[in-house]
């Protein structure tokens, strides 16, 4: 893989720690997280609920200040930028814009002609299977539909980096697989750098080059799995293969370990 041998990583997370002010004592969400992601790499983060995954994504997005550094293309970031496209866990669609206008929102700054923008939007509406819903407002969509619009909106801007916070979390199992395959296709075609958060171990193994397992709060990277599967073979074959299941089981056990640890920690409180 060309990407993995690239000398400067696309994203470098260096010693990132983050505390939220709490009622009595501050809540530490992240402790000294180091991740380095090469250009074109697809990295997933899995971990127990509330361990700080979203927080990490917000820091990389440049929305939250934290201790430590985040570098993109070797430069420290100081806020959000259009180089990093974000899909939020809560979708973050603009409720006052229709599906089409939400997708068009980010395109307006790209300097494209309006008919070109419309073409991109129409194509993406087709990809996410929402033809006929272009003029609906977010409140008229189901959770899964909103999530698909949020993904389309981010893909429309064609950012070099994708930051995805449980992008398929609200989808039903069938749509989820279709959308995963679509993301995989886009990634294979464009080799974007992807940082994805998910709870679904199968999804992580199916899509990523690397999986980082986070501990319960304060979140730290406790395990890392490199995945070298051939992405070109069809889903049925890949998912049922021994190689796939072996690595899937390993990741699953590691995550379960952390979840159990989180539970005993909670019970102790």
């Amino acid at each position: 893989m060309r990407a993995l041998t690239d000398p400067t990583p696309k994203i470098e997370i260096r010693g990132v720690s983050k505390s939220y002010p709490g009622d009595n004592s501050p809540v530490q969400a992240l402790r000294a997280v180091d991740i380095s992601i090469a250009e074109g790499e697809f990295v997933s983060i899995v971990g127990p609920s509330g361990c700080g995954k979203s927080t990490l994504l917000y820091v990389v997005g440049g929305f939250l200040n934290a201790d430590g550094k985040v570098l993109v293309d070797g430069k420290v970031i100081h806020g959000p930028g259009t180089d990093r496209g974000v899909v939020f866990q809560e979708y973050a669609l603009f409720p006052w814009l229709s599906v089409r206008n939400n997708i068009l929102y980010g395109l307006e700054r790209g300097g494209l002609a309006s008919d070109e923008r419309a073409k991109i939007a129409d194509r993406l509406i087709g990809v996410i299977g929402l033809k006929g819903f272009e003029d609906r407002y977010p409140r008229e969509l189901s959770g899964g539909m909103k999530q698909r619009v949020a993904i389309a909106r981010t893909l429309a801007c064609d950012p070099a980096i994708l930051l995805l916070d449980e992008p398929f979390g609200a989808l039903d199992a069938q749509t989820r697989e279709v959308m995963q395959d679509e993301l995989l296709r886009i990634w294979l075609e464009t080799r974007k750098t992807v940082l994805m958060i998910t709870h679904d171990v199968t999804e992580a193994v199916y899509l990523s080059n690397r999986i980082c397992v986070m501990s319960a709060r304060p979140g730290q990277i406790v395990d890392e799995f490199r995945i070298d599967l051939d992405r070109t073979i069809p889903r049925e074959q890949l998912v049922t293969s021994d190689a796939f299941n072996k690595i899937r089981n390993q990741v699953w056990i590691a995550v379960r370990h952390q979840a159990l640890a989180a539970e005993t920690a909670n019970a102790a409180i």
Partner: protein, 264 residues
């Protein structure tokens, strides 16, 4: 308001007039059968005659127009200033710190208390009324705009930033749209206030306007005309409120409060 299929005719526009007609009939019966002294409660028929008479003359139209223009000027100025102040307070901590005690203090002041003060300052007439309406409309707009902007979810702000919206664009593209439902809610409150304050202040500090007219009819013992003028006020206030609601619904089709359309 859900309606059942069984009684849908009751909820039709005509069905909804029935209760009002019933009220009118009881009122008429009370007079006809001498249950109340008709000099204290003119019958609906007499009030209807008075309304017809008023509508053909200029008196009610001219005075109503005077009142409405005072209310409209105060409402327009008050709500524009209110939205601006609310935005400033929401976006600037320092501005908020200075403005908060003034807004908080005057918000709970019964606004009509200032009418005597305005009479001292501006004398009797339009300026006093417009000032009273202005102040009464200003505060709900400030508070609602402020709350609407402040309650913008952080992910919406972040989302807009991630798509490269410049800080100047955030106001028009994120904060104002998000505050719009609250602004409209404030506008409805302000509209109500504008009528109350215009009429109150005309009753004590004006030589014309519908408030003064109602009071004069009362003092002259023309009770059927007094009832007729009040009925006109009720209808005009109702229509203004409805118009605002329709406009709100048009502008807020995206919002939860707008009638829920079925999923295809």
């Amino acid at each position: 308001m859900q309606r059942s299929d069984r009684h849908s005719y009751l909820w039709s526009p005509i069905g909804r007039i029935i209760p009002l007609v019933v009220v009118g009939l009881i009122w008429q019966a009370a007079g006809t059968f001498r249950l109340v002294d008709p000099s204290f409660l003119p019958s609906p028929v007499r009030v209807a005659y008075a309304i017809a008479d008023l509508l053909t003359g200029r008196e009610i139209r001219d005075n109503l127009l005077v009142t409405l223009s005072r209310a409209a000027i105060g409402l327009a100025l008050g709500s524009m200033a209110g939205v601006w102040l609310g935005l400033m307070m929401a976006r600037s901590e320092v501005f908020r710190a200075y403005a908060a005690p003034i807004v908080g203090g005057t918000y709970s002041l019964p606004k009509s208390a200032l009418i005597p003060l305005f009479i001292l300052w501006f004398g009797i007439g339009t300026v006093t009324t417009v000032c009273a309406v202005f102040l009464a409309c200003l505060l709900p707009m400030v508070v609602n705009t402020f709350q609407g902007v402040r309650s913008t979810p952080r992910v919406l702000i972040w989302g807009a930033e991630a798509f490269g919206t410049p800080p100047k664009g955030m106001l028009w593209r994120v904060f104002l749209p998000h505050a719009l439902p609250d602004i409209f809610a404030g506008l409805r409150v302000a509209l109500g206030f504008s009528f109350v304050l215009a009429i109150s202040s005309e009753m004590v500090a004006s030589t014309n306007g519908i408030g003064k007219l109602i009071f004069m009819y009362g003092e002259n013992g023309a009770y059927d005309y007094m009832f007729a003028a009040i009925a006109c006020v009720v209808v005009v206030a109702f229509l203004a409120d409805r118009l605002l609601l329709i406009a709100t619904d048009k502008c807020l089709r995206w919002h939860e409060s707008s009638a829920r359309r079925e999923l295809a």
